[in-house]
Assembly symmetry: C2
Homo-oligomer: 236 residues x 2
């Protein structure tokens, strides 16, 4: 079992395979979103529930930051927190997601008070934060590697939202536009750490399992949405 | 018992009293340092051991960051991590402390490999990090309020090091000079949070106890130094 250390190319390929099999773009709720077939209510539910994930990104990143092995790695990782929380000059991803909410018709107050967040979405996101809290930093970093798959998906999403959901106000798409350059940078750093610091096949297998876990988190969020906002029988 | 909520002025005064009684400037090792009476070996021991504290500051601050209640508070708190870890433009406090080590004659390698760190210093600093990991954010923030007492002490220390330890290379003092403006800003934010978020006398008493605990941490570090590098009998 586990007879040999994977090369960087082999490990990268195995990580990509996890995404090809399990990234949330293949979930029925997501497929329908990108086919332009979600109702306004279903799209609003996605935005409001996904916000619970968005607001927890700096939390899990601060937990990873507290475990990284050097100031050099922290210097890079801290940018993720600033991207989401914002700075004096830049409002940040959390605020941008609130504006997406407003652009689809959810008042800011309803985003902030979490009234639309489904229990199973909360459980999945909390599981992700606790994974980052409790696992070794290398495994927590590996769980972030869904960012390898995000840029392609998000570039499609921008075009799809513009074309198939013309009722969404265009200023709502700023979050996705920012992620187009942030996510590849984050994915490069995360992958570099995983490739460099996995010292044996056991580390590598745990990194792959961590990415699998993270895909399960994103998938479970969409399962909860599908249960609560089902697709009509005649559209299946 | 605990009959009433303290006013902001009363709570601030009680926090200051903790410092007046227990801040580490009153420890015999520290008193001798500021009297110019530490030997080069004793001063080097202080610098090398204190570095274990310095390098853990961003760790405890990332743990607090992960618990703060809003992006607005995180935006302020994150500056502490950047002050110590540095950025592309600014080398940061950890690097500056390594340079202090070099200025007193400790090779960088000996700072980084922790060979001079005494077990009891490690225990005290680790206790502080775990306090910040495990306590509610408000109590962890309160433990940082030794920064209220730091600027006065550090302004003295710069003059004392320049005058009484002329063998220390002047470029070693950059860490202290940076703290002269960083510590008051940090203390103001920490105190503002504590005053604003302590909702009852129990919160206030826990905040006071947290600052007491933090003073114990700093004190225990100097106890360990005093045991390992005793003051000569004829100098007591």
């Amino acid at each position: 079992m586990n007879p040999y250390l994977l090369s960087n190319e082999e490990l990268t390929m195995k990580l990509r395979e996890v995404g090809e099999l399990r990234y949330h773009d293949k979930h029925p709720y997501h497929v329908r979103m990108h086919e332009g077939k979600l109702s306004p209510e279903q799209l609003r539910a996605w935005v409001a529930n996904r916000f619970y994930y968005q607001k927890n990104i700096p939390v899990k990143d601060a937990l990873i930051l507290s475990k990284l092995p050097s100031k050099e790695e922290r210097r890079k990782w801290i940018q993720r927190i600033m991207d989401h929380d914002g700075t004096a000059e830049h409002e940040g991803g959390i605020e941008a997601w609130i504006r997406l909410g407003e652009a689809v018709g959810i008042p800011r107050e309803e985003m902030l008070d979490e009234r639309h967040v489904l229990p199973a979405v909360r459980f999945a996101v909390d599981a992700y934060v606790n994974f980052c809290r409790l696992q070794p930093w290398l495994i927590a970093v590996a769980s972030s590697l869904t960012e390898m798959f995000a840029p392609v998906l998000i570039s499609h999403r921008i075009a799809i939202f513009e074309q198939l959901y013309p009722w969404i106000k265009p200023e709502g798409l700023e979050y996705f536009k920012a992620r187009l350059h942030q996510a590849p940078r984050d994915a490069d750093h995360g992958l570099e750490l995983v490739l460099r610091e996995c010292k044996d096949r056991s580390d590598q297998d745990q990194a792959i399992a961590a990415l699998h876990f993270k895909c399960d988190v994103l998938w479970a969020m969409l399962d909860a949405l599908l249960m609560a906002y089902p697709i009509a029988e005649d559209e299946r």
